[in-house]
């Protein structure tokens, strides 16, 4: 069994503040952590390895500092870690990022085809939840988002049953392998790493892949060049003014609706017609 997990190092947004003047994140002095959903994806992969044998490979794209997050994955039981780092990868949006990760996974598949690929459901810094699905589409494999449990996994029959969270409840899906999951934290509780794993990880050096070697990436599809997304404007919305409370028991439903529409500044015509039909005098 070969599981590939894609992770991201993010600023600890529980510590982050917004610069009131520029509207951007103040990253200075904010500790970097592994994206909280991603470590659960690693744990789920490690549990599959414990059951079926095989290997867990972790990949990330980021600055050299992101090696810290990979080492944390080695602590949790991953076997191999690859850091995709190059100035040419910088400034990537979700489109360029999904290209780089998909291309790297294809290279890994050539060595040992992955049975399952795992992502966290989203990164807490951007919250787009687009990169995992983007990679699934590029690899042309089934995608299951918001996965909360792997009910069964059969690397021989090449099928799995996965539970995913939907608004109304839980969807139970059977899929063929390989499959790509983006996971919620419930997929697997993170266990405390044993001391021998900590020692292995402290000595571990992630493999570094650049834009050219050992895999060549298409220069037009990576970094800023490969990123069509434009951020028009980032701003903090003004706090909403307090609403008005209209007690229905005091004035009846129609009057209450009329008052509500008035407060919201809805069209005069609506207001007067509601008022007329309700026989309410509009001040």
């Amino acid at each position: 069994m070969h599981a590939i997990v894609a992770i991201k190092q993010v600023p600890d947004t529980s510590n982050v503040r917004i610069d009131p003047e520029t509207g951007t994140l103040i990253r200075e002095g904010v500790p970097a952590i592994i994206n909280p959903y991603d470590i659960h994806a690693v744990e789920a992969a490690v549990q599959l390895k414990e059951q079926f044998g095989g290997r867990v490979t972790v990949i990330t794209m980021g600055p050299p500092k992101a090696a810290e997050a990979l080492i944390e994955c080695i602590e949790q039981g991953a076997d191999r870690a690859i850091l995709l780092t190059d100035r040419k990868f910088g400034g990537a949006d979700t489109l360029a990022t999904s290209y780089v990760l998909a291309h790297a996974i294809e290279a890994l598949n050539a060595e040992w085809p992955a049975d399952i690929i795992l992502f966290g459901k989203q990164a807490i810094d951007g919250d787009t939840a687009q990169v995992g699905p983007g990679v699934a589409v590029r690899l042309q494999i089934p995608l299951i988002t918001y996965a909360i449990a792997i009910e069964s996994f059969d690397p021989v029959a090449r099928t799995a049953v996965v539970h995913r969270r939907i608004e109304q409840g839980v969807e139970v899906l059977q899929t063929r392998l390989p499959v790509l999951l983006t996971v919620e934290k419930e997929i697997a509780p993170v266990r405390r790493a044993p001391l021998p794993r900590m020692i292995t990880a402290a000595r571990y050096q992630p493999e570094v892949w650049t834009a050219e070697t050992p895999v060549a990436f298409d220069p037009r599809q990576i970094g800023l060049k490969g990123s069509p997304t434009v951020v028009g404007k980032a701003y903090t919305p003004a706090p909403r003014a307090g609403g008005a409370i209209v007690t229905v028991a005091d004035c009846g439903v129609e009057a209450a609706v009329a008052r509500a529409l008035e407060v919201m500044g809805i069209l005069d015509t609506v207001r007067s017609s509601v008022a007329a039909s309700a026989g309410v005098e509009v001040a």
Partner: protein
């Protein structure tokens, strides 16, 4: 047991004592595992204060080329004596302080300790973070042979364990090196804030010519409500470290809340203008062992040594501790190297560590100031009385009243006598001198 984890030495703690020990042992060719409970070395520390470089040079002669994360060289230092509305300041500024590497730098240990730990790792020590040592492992003879941690399969073995666990001396007690927890009379609580400020503004306020100048001020008197203790104010690269330290017992006896004491100090009319417009970035409190020479733990047992705060290595009078810890960590490491050479890890052999420290300034200074805490304890009004006295005298001296100077002098003298009799003053000074002489 074929796959049990074994090293030549285990170091508990990622502070200066532990890191100095790990660094020296790793350079000496031992396999070393250093275990730190925080997320990184220095994570459990709130120290923002003065760091003396002589100790660092002792373990890392080329430290300057390794770009330590110092804040500012201390180019001006001294004392402020506060009365409720005044301050008498004695500051020393000198060109001698401006040559770098300087003898003293302000340092934020949350930045410094990770750098120092990285030097030990580079020398070959294995640093394991986020892991707490829960107990010592002993063999049938009672020799310490390893430690257990809070991780699965968490036991690790070595013939020598150096405890540098800091002020909460759980393992030191377990090793039987000290009988009990520290009584509140011999532990200070320091409550501290880091306030950020643009460097230009900071330099203008403190009269600093640029980023290569800094101030370290120790403050007495009203800062601690006249009680034994000190306050401090140090300039960092882009901020101020400010805090108040008093014996835990004082907080308890006078029903004081540490944060109230700090807030009151920050609001003092002389202090407040220096802080205005700054932004609070970090707030915390930490215990400082001030047990003194006579109540220190035994420094070595069978298979074990203790260094740094855990051993009470603090010179409160000169706000030294980090440098004592580094020297002690190095001395323990050298003893460990010798023990490996001889194959002897007994308490008798390891007592060499204490002998080395007795010969160095570490225990010489601690011995000299062994009665300091008791002096302040037996002279509780000392700080407050004299700080107020000095300020009142200064006010009269510097004010033109239109009265003859002779009467002004008499007024000052009678002021003295009101507050404290001549024999009282003589007695205080005699006691102080005795306490200073050791």
């Amino acid at each position: 047991m074929p796959d049990r984890l074994s090293y030549d030495a285990i170091v508990v703690g990622g502070g200066p004592a532990g890191t100095a020990a790990a660094l020296v042992m790793a350079r000496g060719g031992l396999s070393v595992i250093q275990i730190e409970r925080g997320r990184f070395a220095g994570a459990k520390n709130i120290f923002g204060g003065v760091f003396y470089t002589h100790a660092l040079a002792d373990v890392l002669p080329d430290y300057w080329e390794r770009k330590p994360p110092f804040e500012r060289p201390v180019t001006e230092q001294g004392y402020w004596m506060l009365s409720p509305d005044s301050a008498l300041r004695i500051m020393h500024k000198s060109e001698q302080y401006r040559q770098e590497p300087a003898g003293a730098y302000t340092v934020l240990r949350a930045r410094f300790d990770p750098w120092f730990a990285a030097q030990a790792v580079e020398a070959g020590a294995l640093l394991i973070t986020r892991t707490t040592v829960t107990r010592l492992l002993k063999d049938a003879r009672g020799f310490v042979i390893g430690v257990d941690t809070d991780r699965p399969d968490g036991q690790v073995y070595a013939p020598i364990v150096i405890i540098a666990e800091g002020v909460n001396n759980l393992l030191t007690r377990q090793a039987g090196l000290i009988a009990s927890d520290l009584p509140p009379r011999y532990v200070a609580l320091s409550v501290k804030e880091y306030l950020s400020m643009p460097p230009k503004e900071l330099q203008a306020r403190f009269g600093l010519a640029g980023p290569r100048e800094g101030v370290a001020i120790d403050i007495f008197g009203d800062a601690t409500l006249g009680l034994p203790g000190t306050a401090f104010l140090y300039t960092d690269q882009a901020g101020i470290s400010i805090g108040v330290g008093m014996l835990l017992e004082e907080f308890v006896c006078h029903r004081l809340r540490p944060y109230d004491v700090l807030a009151r100090f920050k609001n003092h009319p002389v202090i407040r203008p220096y802080l205005e417009g700054s932004e609070s970035r970090e707030y915390g409190a930490h215990l400082i062992p001030e047990m003194g020479y006579d109540r220190m733990p035994r420094l070595a047992g069978n298979g074990v040594m203790v260094a740094g705060d855990a051993a009470g290595m603090v010179d409160a009078l000169h706000r030294e501790g980090t440098n004592l810890a580094i020297i002690a960590g190095k001395a323990a490491a050298e003893t460990a190297l010798a023990a490996h050479e001889q194959g002897d890890f007994s308490a008798a052999f390891l007592s060499r560590y204490r002998r080395d420290l007795e010969a160095s300034f570490v225990l010489k200074d601690m011995k000299q100031y062994r009665h300091m805490t008791d002096f302040l304890d037996s002279t509780p009004g000392f700080m407050g009385t004299y700080a107020n006295l000095l300020n009142d005298a200064a006010l009269r001296y510097f004010t033109a009243h239109g009265i003859p100077k002779r009467s002004m002098e008499r007024e000052i003298v009678s002021l003295l006598r009101e507050r404290r009799s001549f024999t009282g003053i003589a007695w205080d000074m005699l006691k102080l001198m005795r306490a200073m002489r050791g």
